[in-house]
Point group: C2
DNA sequence: CTCCAATCTGAACAGTGTTGAGATGCTGGC
DNA sequence: GCCAGCATCTCAACACTGTTCAGATTGGAG
């Protein structure tokens, strides 16, 4: 440890670690920059040589976590129970990974899912959203999703999974049986995919998917 | 206006109004209790005779907004385009109301959807979630949703709509064409309902819906 | 008219994010 | 080996925050 040393080895990630621990202990907002600095054994102003502001620290933590989650989801798809080459099973595994993460680490999940995560030029290596679209492509290529249903499907599936994760992390939905969350998540994914496929055959008033695009760059002007 | 008067007429709701305006102007967290008090023309400590803390103020605003939204969604269901006695159209109208609210008033929506909204004993008159379950019951009664699909359906539909609203409010999804949001929302609702109905006939591994219950009471111990 | 309880003020406290001037120690060129 | 230069970190200070509490002010009941 860098106790007593003037120059800390890697203060940047040490601060991120401290912040992450504090979020877990005291909730999304129940901690201060000064506290994180003190825990690392450094003065409050030292943090400003690595982060422009407290908000930047939070965003960095969010991005780090998001990238980690992306890796994990990708992994979950590969290690899908049953045959991992069934695209629908892979998507269900993805959904379960996403949801169980938000349940296992609700405080950090709340922080990340708050949305301030994705900054304009953030290069989050495997962004969870990208993992999802890749899996949807795989499903479509395998014939599991009609072309008309594929258009903008990530939009619908993402919304459902995201909503599920948020509601669970916020404690607005509670499962007595921890096993039930997996079942319900699978149900959400299956219902969404089947519903989309079925919808494609009813060309009633399907939206012009071209005019809609999901993006992870948009940010409000003033935080 | 109570300028110069020592006793403000209805300080409680005046503070809520000021806080709501500040949220709209400066975002969810870009304002202070002191600022809201000053705007009403009152000392900071005056607020503490009506709210136990700043957090309580925020929660009260959240509940007020949620009740208002509940009323509006109910209204939207009645005034559903086409025949308002078609349960599915009513549900689509509900979804559109929910989503367009979060788009029209994103800052306040972010505050409300953060989840701290529903306190243990909060008696939110028509809670949006209750409006949704009522409409799902109506759909099920009309035969539009098989009994097996009805069980825990509010869970799936709510997640999808909530996720949609959150993603839009946070700016993570953006529509160029404002009309497209209505179409996509309808698509989400339809896909979800159809998917649920279809799932009910595939009794593969449907979760035991008894062990899962959505509740709006759960709160984390420490905010 | 008087008194009381509700309401609001003023001053204070500890703690916050943030800044700038200066101290400290690592590193690379002589 | 040494010394300059530079990134890194400290210290002290700023304006501001949420919150508390003793006391001033009021409207209304008796």
């Amino acid at each position: 440890m860098a106790k007593g040393r003037y120059h800390h080895g890697d203060l940047r990630s040490a601060l991120l670690d401290a912040a992450e621990a504090l979020v877990r202990e005291r909730g999304v907002d129940g901690w201060s920059l000064r506290e994180a600095s003190a825990r690392v054994g450094v003065s409050p102003s030292a943090a400003y040589h690595h982060f422009a502001s407290r908000d930047t620290l939070v965003r960095a933590l969010s991005e780090r976590t998001l990238a980690w989650l992306g890796e994990r989801l990708r992994h979950d798809c590969e290690r899908a129970p049953g045959q991992a080459d069934d695209p629908q099973r892979r998507l269900i595994a993805l959904g379960r990974g996403y949801v169980s993460w938000s349940l296992d680490d609700p405080a950090v999940a709340r922080l990340v899912l708050r949305g301030a995560a994705t900054a304009p030029d953030s290069a989050i290596s495997p962004h969870p959203h990208d993992v999802l679209t890749a899996e949807l492509d795989r499903l479509a290529d395998a014939g599991g999703l009609p072309g008309a249903a594929r258009e903008g499907a990530e939009f619908v599936v993402w919304a459902a999974l995201h909503g599920l994760a948020v509601l669970l992390a916020d404690g607005l939905i509670h499962f007595d049986d921890p096993h039930a969350v997996e079942l319900q998540t699978g149900r959400v994914v299956r219902a969404t995919l089947n519903g989309l496929a079925q919808e494609a055959s009813h060309p009633a008033d399907r939206p012009a998917a071209r005019s809609a695009h999901t993006e992870r760059l948009a940010r409000r002007p003033r935080g």
